[in-house]
């Protein structure tokens, strides 16, 4: 295959993946809408008959849930989008003849792939279908920004990136981006759900489309915690791998370059999160807020530093 057709194939795959993700988004959205109608009707029925207990109401929703099929379709479509995007990223690498992480377009499509991978793998271990829409939307946004603003023709690497550390450091960072995004989604939802639970007084009487479809605030916080317990050591490794690489390329392992600074800030915030989880009075919403702050610092490191700051890590390749 000629390089041009490889390039075209890669782009076609990325666009196809976006199209499939859009359908997945509709499917996940439909599952919310479907769930809502059923919850309402079940609740009405149980009060009218005056015999249905809270447990029965809940059982009706779970066993006979029209949103369930829609969310299953959403997951299948997400898997399809993942495979398409994987092919797109691999073709991009084949086209460039290197790991496809040489500029921000490539980082972004691989990061989107990483988020999907972490979500889909986590979903095989514990049911996360309800989370689908909150993953698919940021992934679609990332891909949208990638193909419009960040798009760069494949080219060779600048000398600073020619190192096997590119593969190690960036791969770890991409997995972290997936885990951090997942944790931010569950942390954000836990705040919403917590508010609704407080208002309703008990989690059985929740009727909102969103809040009735997602797990309890406590379970969401636990998911956030597990995801970050996995991501934090990996992020530590990412930063250390970056430091080893920096030592090899620039002669110092730490120089407070803006990218390094924000990686450090991200690390410190997530460290604060883990400490908050074992501090009385901080475990709940405060910890969730810290998890969100960590994700914002991570995004700042990814987008902000590449565009705003004058950093040694300016490999965006945008505008050239």
């Amino acid at each position: 295959m000629s390089p041009e057709s490889l390039a075209r194939m890669s782009n076609v795959m990325v666009y196809s993946s976006m199209l499939v993700l859009t359908f997945a988004m509709f499917a996940f959205a439909a599952s919310f809408a479907g769930g809502r109608r059923r919850v309402n009707s079940a609740a009405v029925e149980s009060t009218r008959n005056a015999g249905g207990t809270a447990v029965i109401t809940k059982a009706v929703v779970v066993t006979d849930d029209p949103g369930r099929r829609a969310s299953n379709i959403g997951i299948s479509l997400t898997w399809l989008a993942f495979v398409l995007l994987l092919v797109g990223v691999v073709l991009r690498g084949v086209w460039a003849g290197r790991a496809p992480w040489g500029n921000m377009y490539e980082f972004s499509i691989t990061a989107a792939l990483g988020v999907l991978a972490v979500f889909l793998i986590a979903n095989t271990r514990t049911d996360l279908r309800w989370l689908g829409i909150f993953i698919v939307i940021p992934v679609l946004l990332t891909l949208g920004v990638a193909v419009t603003v960040l798009y760069t023709e494949a080219a060779q690497l600048v000398p600073a990136l020619k190192s096997y550390w590119l593969v190690i450091h960036v791969f770890a960072a991409i997995i972290c981006s997936g885990a951090f995004t997942l944790a931010a989604a569950t942390a954000g939802l836990s705040l919403v759900r917590d508010r609704a639970e407080r208002k309703a007084g008990s989690d059985v009487e929740l009727t909102g489309a969103l809040v009735s479809r997602i797990p309890s605030a406590e379970r969401l916080r636990s998911l956030t915690n597990k995801t970050l317990a996995f991501a934090f050591p990996l992020w530590t490794f990412t930063v250390v791998a970056g430091a080893i690489w920096a030592e090899n390329a620039w002669g110092r392992y730490w120089g407070w370059d803006p990218k390094e600074t924000w990686a450090f800030i991200t690390w410190v915030i997530y460290a604060a999160y883990l400490h908050a989880r074992s501090t009385a009075g901080w475990r709940g919403n405060k910890a969730s807020l810290i998890a969100l702050a960590g994700w914002i610092a991570f995004l700042m490191n990814y987008f902000g530093v590449n565009f705003l700051a004058n950093s040694l890590h300016s490999y965006a390749g945008v505008g050239n």
Partner: protein, 519 residues
């Protein structure tokens, strides 16, 4: 909320210490550390780019000096940043050191005896024994010991219960992580106190020997002996650069290769090495990194009598990605003194908006645009001057000209000629010695191992008790999770442990399968 401090002085100190080592304080200090790090990515930093700091202060005469005094241009060595991380580490020490003792004792002490009502614990089970209590307890204790649980059983003469605990490595990992951080900080301090770092520009064909005076910039730690740095030397034989010529990312660098010959000391044999970005030269414990490059136009100047007063390759500093480079020539040996301010353009272009500029970093169409000055260079005042800047206060402009390689310019006032005969390349090197970096690496690796252990190992207890109830003998199985990070009740993991015990009982042939599961 916290109580008011007691009045006595020791009581007050104890109160301060307790506050400092509390988790809430650690949390607040972590936030402060995150926030205090931000300005360093917003404002230029002296340690990274002193010129940018100077320009910033010049551009904002009101805020610049105030920010400067507050340490915003040296954030990471400022008193407030140091205060935050030192307090954080003090808090860490106060928190972690006592825990080391507690953990050490816990590891040596027996697991606590069986609670009275095992059936009340969540997830507890009962199975029917098919052997004596002694055999049951023996089988369970053996299996648990084999699976690396810490096990006690009792009472001594005819045991009826087993208590087991596992997952001590969780706390070990947590302590290893925190203590390792202390060592990483120490390693950074060692590097700062005993290490050194310098930058030097070397032109193609020129050499460098490692003495402080040969550096363009050099800095050592408080305990670094500047006289005592290793006496190696090297020559930059050839420097090759390659730029992207395709449409995508046109002009982006593609390869830098410095062919070097070096000697470990003046009497050592010459060795050769290709030095690239990511491929530094290790020499006498120090490392030589290729960090930049540029052009050095060959400039010859004669005075009005025709005598050559200057003839050298002058390193010019690149100003943009296309290597529009600026440089200065100062000629002290002519009367009056001469000065040249010049732009070197590897691929020259001229337009109304940008003026003379370069459109590609490669030397496709080199040109030298310059202005010549005469008068007093101001070098006799004793005030230090940059070699890349011409102080024109006491000078008058003679004229402007542009030259292509191999051409000359006769200065309009007859004070001499300037010849641009070509260019050489230069490479800049960072040479660094950091005795702390290996220590830092070892402890950072330990920290990651400890961290992973502390996040993934779960500390839990399991109890097995043989009891008689209403004339029927049953074996009770129960356990609890003792974890702070997974403080949500992880019944699933506990069930796995109880499954293990139950299986061990069946394998040993001392119990039947599940008969009753309690919720």
């Amino acid at each position: 909320m916290t109580n008011l401090p007691p009045m006595s002085s020791t009581g007050f100190l104890r109160w301060v210490w307790r506050q400092l080592t509390s988790m809430k304080t650690a949390l607040v200090l972590l936030f402060l550390l995150a926030v205090a790090s931000v300005p360093g990515s917003v404002y230029p930093q002296r340690g990274v780019d002193p010129i940018k700091v100077r320009d910033f202060i010049t551009k904002s005469p009101t805020w610049g000096p105030i920010l400067d005094r507050l340490g915003f241009f040296e954030v990471y060595s400022s008193p407030w940043f140091s205060a935050v991380y030192l307090l954080l580490f003090l808090s860490l020490i106060g928190c972690v050191i006592p825990r080391v003792g507690v953990h050490f004792r816990a590891m040596r002490s027996a697991p606590p005896a069986v609670p009275r009502m095992l059936e009340r614990l969540a997830g507890s089970r009962e199975v029917t024994p098919t052997a004596s209590a002694e055999e049951v307890i023996g089988a369970v204790a053996g299996a648990l010991r084999k699976a690396r649980w810490r096990v006690v059983s009792g009472p001594a003469d005819s045991p009826t219960w087993v208590a087991a605990e596992k997952g001590y490595l969780r706390e070990t990992g947590n302590l290893v992580f925190h203590v390792s951080l202390l060592f990483v900080l120490s390693a950074i301090a060692i590097g700062g106190l005993f290490g050194w770092k310098g930058n030097v520009i070397v032109r193609e064909g020129s050499g460098f020997s490692n003495t402080v005076t040969q550096y363009d910039a050099w800095g050592g730690g408080r305990y670094t002996n500047a006289q005592d740095i290793p006496p190696f030397s090297f020559t930059l034989d050839k420097f090759t650069v390659d730029f992207e010529r395709g449409i995508a990312q046109r002009g982006a660098p593609r390869a830098f290769e410095a062919e070097m010959s070096y000697k470990v000391d003046p009497t050592a044999p010459v060795e050769r090495r290709l030095v690239e970005v990511n491929e530094p030269l290790s020499i006498s414990g120090a490392k030589v990194f290729l960090v930049g490059h540029g052009y050095a136009p060959l400039i010859t100047v004669t005075d009005k009598t025709g005598k050559v007063v200057f003839d050298d390759a002058v390193p010019f500093l690149p100003q943009d990605g296309s290597f529009t480079s600026t440089g200065v020539v100062k000629i002290l040996d002519s009367t009056p003194q001469l000065g040249i301010q010049a732009l070197f353009l590897p691929t020259a272009a001229l337009d109304d908006v940008l003026g003379p500029h370069s459109t590609f970093p490669g030397p496709d169409d080199p040109a030298l645009f310059m202005s010549a000055w005469k008068g007093d260079l101001g070098l006799n005042t004793g005030k230090p001057q940059s070699v890349y800047r011409l102080v024109t206060d006491k000078m008058t402009k003679i004229g402007l000209e542009q030259l292509r390689p191999g051409t000359s310019w006769k200065l309009p006032d007859g004070s001499g000629t300037v010849t641009f005969s070509g260019y050489k390349r230069w490479a800049s090197f960072q040479i660094a010695y950091d005795p702390g970096k290996e220590i830092a690496l070892i402890f950072v690796a330990l920290a990651i191992v400890g961290l992973t252990m502390s996040l993934f190992i779960r500390r839990r207890r399991v109890w097995v008790k043989v009891v008689e109830r209403d004339g029927v003998t049953v074996i009770q199985l129960a356990g609890i999770m003792r974890a702070s990070t997974f403080e949500d009740k992880d019944i699933g993991a506990l069930a796995e442990d109880l499954d293990f015990v139950e299986q061990a009982l069946q394998v040993a042939g001392v119990a039947r399968g599940i008969e009753k599961e309690q919720s």
